[in-house]
């Protein structure tokens, strides 16, 4: 941890200690909060992950056995990880392309934009439970409005959430619908691009497509970077909609990593094993984030930097 460099020569004055005490008094709530609700539990969780622990009896130390079991014997672990990765790829790719496209629309110079923005952002505030129940009805094979509309144009709609082939993709649709936060961030990013750049490109004879490709996209890469990172993190924490709508089905097609973890912990009370799963999840998120960070010099452009 980095600490402030302190004056070494002078004796630390009463003043110094008073400032320190006052500073910590102000941030005391979050210091205690981090210790009690974050760091303490992290240490406990790391310990539990090395034990066989079912709450009713004391934790029994088993070393790395939980981790070994996860990677060698637990087929469900591999399956739920696979489901989550497939969801993450679909969600990040479709979600980012879609929300960037919407953001471009929402920054055009036309009247009535505030109303359109409100309408596009609205799904953000819909509670998970409500949106889950709503979409289950919309996706209903027999009486659902979506298949009725498809039917009226001669398409036989799939069984959406009820079909192992479509269930995961259906969840992606729901998440993209409720995921306008990345649109909001893209809109802010687009508004931050200096108008002069577009003007200059225009004078040089660049078409709208060229301006988008060679001005907008490079200037937007820091925003894209942020949204991709939060998108990946969010995708790996996906839980509630699947818990409410599909319970992992049909045929475990939507058995997400966190559904698996929840079942292990709160259905079977295998707290040690579930803790190991949580740490593996954390490790995956860290590795992916680091990977995206490491790749950023290749594609993220920061102002003031000269690209060779």
């Amino acid at each position: 941890m980095a600490t402030l460099t302190l004056p070494r020569k002078r004796e630390r004055s009463a003043h110094f200690w008073r400032d320190t005490a006052r500073g910590y008094l102000f941030i005391l709530p979050v210091v205690l909060g981090l210790l009690i609700w974050t760091f303490g539990p992290m240490i406990a969780s790391a310990y539990y992950s090395l034990t066989n622990y079912r709450i009713i009896s004391e934790p029994e130390f088993v070393g790395l056995q939980n981790y070994i079991d996860l990677f060698t014997r637990d087929r469900l672990f591999a399956h739920s990880l696979n489901v989550t990765i497939r969801y993450a790829i679909m969600f990040v790719v479709i979600g980012q392309v879609f929300s960037l496209a919407v953001a471009v629309l929402l920054t055009q110079n036309v009247r009535g934009l505030p109303i359109f923005r409100t309408l596009f952002y609205l799904p953000i505030v819909v509670p998970y439970v409500a949106s889950a129940l709503l979409w289950r009805y919309l996706f209903n094979r027999e009486f659902g409005p979506i298949n009725a509309v498809l039917n009226s144009v001669g398409i036989t709609g799939p069984n959406w959430l009820g079909s192992p082939d479509w269930a995961l993709f259906s969840l992606v649709i729901i998440s993209v619908w409720g995921g306008a936060v990345s649109t909001i961030i893209y809109v802010a990013g687009l508004q931050n691009i200096p108008e002069e750049l577009h003007e200059a490109a225009k004078i040089d004879g660049a078409t709208a497509v060229q301006r988008f490709r060679f001005v907008t996209i490079p200037m937007l890469t820091p925003t894209i970077f942020f949204n991709v990172v939060t998108g990946v993190i969010g995708a790996f924490q996906f839980f509630v909609p699947a818990f409410i709508m599909t319970q992992g089905g049909p045929a475990r097609a939507t058995y997400f990593y966190n559904l698996n973890l929840y079942d292990k912990a709160f259905k079977w009370l295998e707290m040690g094993y579930a803790s190991a799963m949580a740490w593996v999840l954390f490790a995956i998120i860290i590795v992916l984030t680091l990977f995206i960070f490491r790749s950023s010099p290749l594609w993220v452009y920061y102002e003031g930097e000269v690209k060779s």
């Binding site: 941890m1 980095a2 600490t3 402030l4 302190l6 400032d19 320190t20 500073g23 910590y24 102000f26 709530p29 979050v30 210091v31 909060g33 981090l34 974050t38 539990p41 992290m42 406990a44 969780s45 539990y48 929402l106 036309v110 409100t118 309408l119 952002y121 609205l122 799904p123 953000i124 505030v125 819909v126 509670p127 998970y128 439970v129 409500a130 129940l133 709503l134 009805y137 009486f143 409005p145 009725a148 936060v181 909001i184 225009k202 004078i203 040089d204 004879g205 709208a208 970077f225 942020f226 924490q237 818990f243 409410i244 966190n258 709160f266 803790s275 949580a278 999840l281 954390f282 998120i285």
Partner: protein
């Protein structure tokens, strides 16, 4: 939308023609933008309209084919019947949600702004390290601390009470909120506190008398985001609340749909009741909510 640079160099008569073509192109461009905006906005809002419309339909109408867009007969009684459905307690569950919110919101506002002041305005060893720890904690998946916290609350005898949902917000009120308020505090000119210090004011007084009143916009943002997340929270109540009388609205609705999966009319009525306050909140305070998301997005 689509413009060319040719117009600048063309002789007079072609310039006029080019400008007309240019205007036409611009008009077409605007038309396309409007078309796409309308299409997208309808696709995005239709689900919510369908939710509200379905909540007024009769059970039979919902289960007939093809589905209607607006109800043939409007049944507002759906709301009353759902609200008072036997073996459920939506009034109580709504009250529970409000109690949890009312008991945690002051803690969020008070402690996050105190911490933000410490991080923004005071100098002391370890400040940056702690601030980094606060930011890093945003990255931590809640699953890592979920089990130890569950065991901790179990040992404390807090399970099946509101305490696990109420007490933690009093400890800093969430990393993101501290970050949001700190960013706002940093923009307040320092001359103000220096003048106050010369007048003999303590930092606590400066925080209370200068910073809090000046930072109303960001405090509104934090309050709104807290209301949204508390109202919508599912995982916390799911894990900590076990007996139905302690359920929140989100949990209660989920239990109801589990027991009466076919009662789409009532499910949509309660869903609408749950969603409409949040929609109104968003429509009237969109500025604040959007600013919150933008500030947290620009830290990257």
């Amino acid at each position: 939308m689509i413009q060319t640079a040719k117009a600048q160099s063309a002789p007079g008569w072609t310039r006029q023609r080019d400008e007309r073509a240019h205007k036409q192109q611009q008009l077409i461009g605007k038309g396309i933008v409007y078309g796409l905006l309308l299409l997208g906005a309808s696709v995005f809002t239709l689900p919510l309209i369908v939710m509200i419309s379905t909540s007024f339909k009769s059970f039979n109408e919902i289960n007939s084919y093809p589905p209607t867009f607006l109800p043939n007969t409007w049944i507002p009684e759906n709301y009353l019947n759902a609200w008072n459905f036997p073996n459920t307690d939506f009034p109580r569950w709504t009250m529970n949600t409000i109690i949890i919110l009312a008991a945690s919101l002051p803690g969020v506002l008070l402690t996050s702004s105190l911490c933000a002041y410490g991080f923004a305005r005071l100098r002391f060893p370890g400040r940056n390290a702690w601030f980094l720890a606060v930011l890093a904690s945003i990255m931590l998946p809640p699953q890592v601390t979920l089990i130890p916290l569950y065991i901790l609350f179990f040992r404390l005898g807090w399970l099946d009470s509101f305490l696990p949902l109420i007490v933690p917000p009093w400890f800093g009120g969430g990393a993101l909120n501290i970050f949001l308020i700190r960013q706002f505090f940093m923009q307040i000119p320092r001359d103000l506190d220096e003048a106050a210090i010369i007048d003999g004011a303590s930092h606590f007084t400066i925080w209370r008398k200068i910073y809090l009143p000046l930072s109303r916009p960001v405090m509104v943002t934090v309050a709104l985001l807290t209301i949204l997340t508390t109202w919508n929270d599912f995982l916390g109540p799911l894990i900590y609340l076990t007996s139905p009388r302690n359920y929140t609205l989100a949990l209660g609705l989920n239990m109801f749909q589990g027991l009466f999966i076919t009662r789409t009319d009532y499910i949509m009525a309660i869903s609408s009741l749950m969603v409409i306050p949040m929609i109104l909140l968003f429509i009237f305070a969109q500025r604040y909510i959007v600013r919150g998301f933008v500030t947290s997005g620009l830290k990257g």
